[in-house]
Symmetry: C2
Subunit: 412 residues, 2 copies
């Protein structure tokens, strides 16, 4: 008898009919002889409604915010328990505090520290399905906490880890992880398996299938995660350890992000600690800096520094740098910016053992006259910053260049 | 420094603006140097929405129902805490399980067994207002329970009793308890004080100002309860022990109910236990029987029995009695019913010491040719059943006959 954790997002539980549909998904696993814990989000739109109430006030108290916002999931667990009982399946709901989903005290973006698996396992011995709210937990002070938006994926993985579940199935409104965005490349192929690290890169580079933190936790706890559709009955994509991927492939997917802006500082004094001088005012303003390149001038006295920030933070970034210059904390010649840029990334665990991946990328883009503004690389990905207008073309050409539309051969 | 409990119902917290208005009411007590605990209901309409979700399922699980429905109050406490902080008042919310509002396990109509007053009192020493959800508690099994509709009044009284509060102020959309319904009698006067028992009679006889159970609890725990408006800044009505009422008055108020139906069984065999035979099938069908009269025939062999049931239960009552006759459990000649009836009641602790109250009632009704169908009495009330069409007239005439529009003299 295997333990399966299933997780359903807000659109999958948007109304009573859909909650009944979720109950059928649970029934299938129960009928197959499995012990099931289901993790659910709030009904679609509900969290926004509750956050909206809180935002009407001019003060912020994260623990009161959590008390209010966590009610969305509380409603869903009760209703799903009823839907399961309605089709003859024993089920009960557990709230975060009833289950001891202990978190730290950083309300509204808490981290799970532990879960009392025993109470769920006891329920299993009584033949009960455990219905568990995602997104919520309880602090040591006995107050309700929430994990931040998208935290339900993380809750599901944490429950799966605590139960040592065979698998954690994340049901969403897409049916798996694709080689790239099918809206741009109709030939995009659904991946049967993808490595945790590849998924992490894809998630952080713009593929919004799974919350990054949930993938990190799955990797750390070695939880087999499956992404699949709650509306279609097709196999999804399984997240596994890299060594489990038996396909001989160099590149796994192409990701892109249009939420980028480029900032360039011209003629910065090239003294030790200059990077800290540039990036500490940005960090103080809570701006995430992504791609960074630094060119040193011939004489080594001046340097140009280019980096990207989220498009929505560009104005704030420029103001922070300007203020630092005025305070004399930072000296530069000129401050340039460009928000018509996009980041396109090639991702694949296979690139570690295959030469020429980068070369293929650069020559493919060059063949269409697409200019590369910035390049950054890691062991399993190469990202380039290009003009935003060329972004869709670049994704299509790279998808074709790496033959991602073709099923890769299996390793013999 | 006095402890005050304030309770606000659903219409008083219907939206963020009204919640801000509630915060001002709380501020007034805080500014007056009092320590305040506030009990709130769900935002108007919210409980119905949540009950509606649960009712869409064909199964019933009261503990899941409670998990879902209790979220309404959970939202309000968080928002009121924010509203208080917004105007500079230290406040925090407490949920039923955080406060140890312990109840029995009869989910959806649980009874409060105790409250950990210490945590609220500790909050008071930190200068905190305690914001507490009405209607909810926690069972010994650690599950959320609810007290049934209108239970927030009872929560407030229980909190006041646990805190040994100076007063429990129930803010509603009416501004107090009146001598009768002002929509029928414009001269109806707001009572400054009313006795617990009088209030109980008035509540059970149709005056829907306070939930009966909350009045019972206030009487038992000797909690001074005040009913007042959250929208008007006028003094309300104080519920007190009978001995605290210093006004020399015979009758306190006139109540009426149009939700009555009369059932008469003609020629029932007058054998021992006949009442049980009549009323047990009704009890089995969960029908509340109210006014009962039994007349014995001259020979003592047959009897006619008349009683009232809620209008909505009439059909069910007739079916239950018919079924009992068919099974041979009950023998009667004829079964009559009439749903065009109303119950009009005269209530007053003073009638215990004043003769002629009943006589005034009967002669007043007779003077207008209103026929009395059934009479029942208790120590502090007389109820009559009359034709529904005469009900408003009867209330007006009795209000005038007992001079309820005039302020009574105080006892010297």
């Amino acid at each position: 008898m295997a333990i399966i954790v299933q997780k359903f997002g807000g659109t999958s539980v948007a109304d009573v009919e859909r909650i009944r549909n979720v109950a059928q998904h649970v029934k299938r696993e129960v009928d197959a002889g499995n012990q099931v814990a289901v993790v659910v989000s709030a009904m679609a739109g509900e969290t926004n409604r509750l956050v909206g109430f809180c935002n009407e006030f001019t003060v912020r108290d994260e623990s009161e915010y959590d008390t209010v916002v966590s009610t969305g999931e509380q409603v869903t667990v009760g209703l799903l328990a009823l839907a399961l009982q309605e089709i003859g399946i024993k089920a009960r709901s557990w709230l975060g505090w009833q289950l001891g989903i202990r978190t730290d005290s950083t309300h509204s973006k808490a981290r799970i520290e532990g879960i009392n698996a025993e109470v769920i396992l006891e329920g299993f011995t009584r033949g009960e399905v455990a219905v568990i709210p995602g997104f919520q937990g309880v602090t040591d002070e006995g107050r309700i906490s929430t994990l931040g938006r998208g935290g339900s994926d993380t809750s599901a993985v944490a429950v799966a880890a605590a139960l040592k579940a065979e698998r954690c199935d994340i049901y969403t409104d897409v049916d798996g992880v694709y080689t790239t965005d099918p809206r741009i490349v109709p030939e995009a192929r659904k991946l049967q398996k993808v490595g945790y690290e590849e998924m992490l890169e894809m998630a952080s580079l713009g593929a919004k299938v799974l919350q990054t933190r949930s993938v990190e936790l799955a990797m750390k706890e070695n939880v087999r995660l499956q992404v699949l559709s709650s509306f279609q009955d097709t196999p999804g994509t399984l997240l596994v350890n890299e060594e489990e991927i038996m396909e001989r492939r160099k590149v796994t997917g192409i990701a892109y992000s249009k939420n980028e802006a480029k900032v360039t500082l011209i003629n910065v004094e090239n003294t030790p600690g200059v990077a800290a001088k540039i990036f500490s005012p940005l960090a103080d303003s809570e701006i995430n800096v992504d791609m960074i390149v630094q060119n040193v001038s011939e004489d080594g006295l001046k340097t140009n520094v280019t980096f990207t920030v989220p498009k929505t933070d560009l104005q704030k970034a420029l103001e922070a740098l300007d203020a630092a210059q005025k305070k004399g904390e930072l000296v530069y010649g000129k401050l340039l910016s460009d928000s018509n840029v996009a980041k396109v990334s090639v991702i694949g665990i296979g690139m570690q053992s295959h030469a020429g991946i980068a070369q293929t990328m650069f020559s493919t883009l060059a063949s269409k006259g697409i200019n590369i503004l910035v390049i950054t690389t890691s062991e399993i990905k190469i990202s380039v910053l290009i003009d935003e207008e060329s972004s869709d073309d670049a994704v299509r050409m790279l998808h074709a260049a790496y033959e991602l539309d073709k099923k890769p051969k299996r390793v013999e």
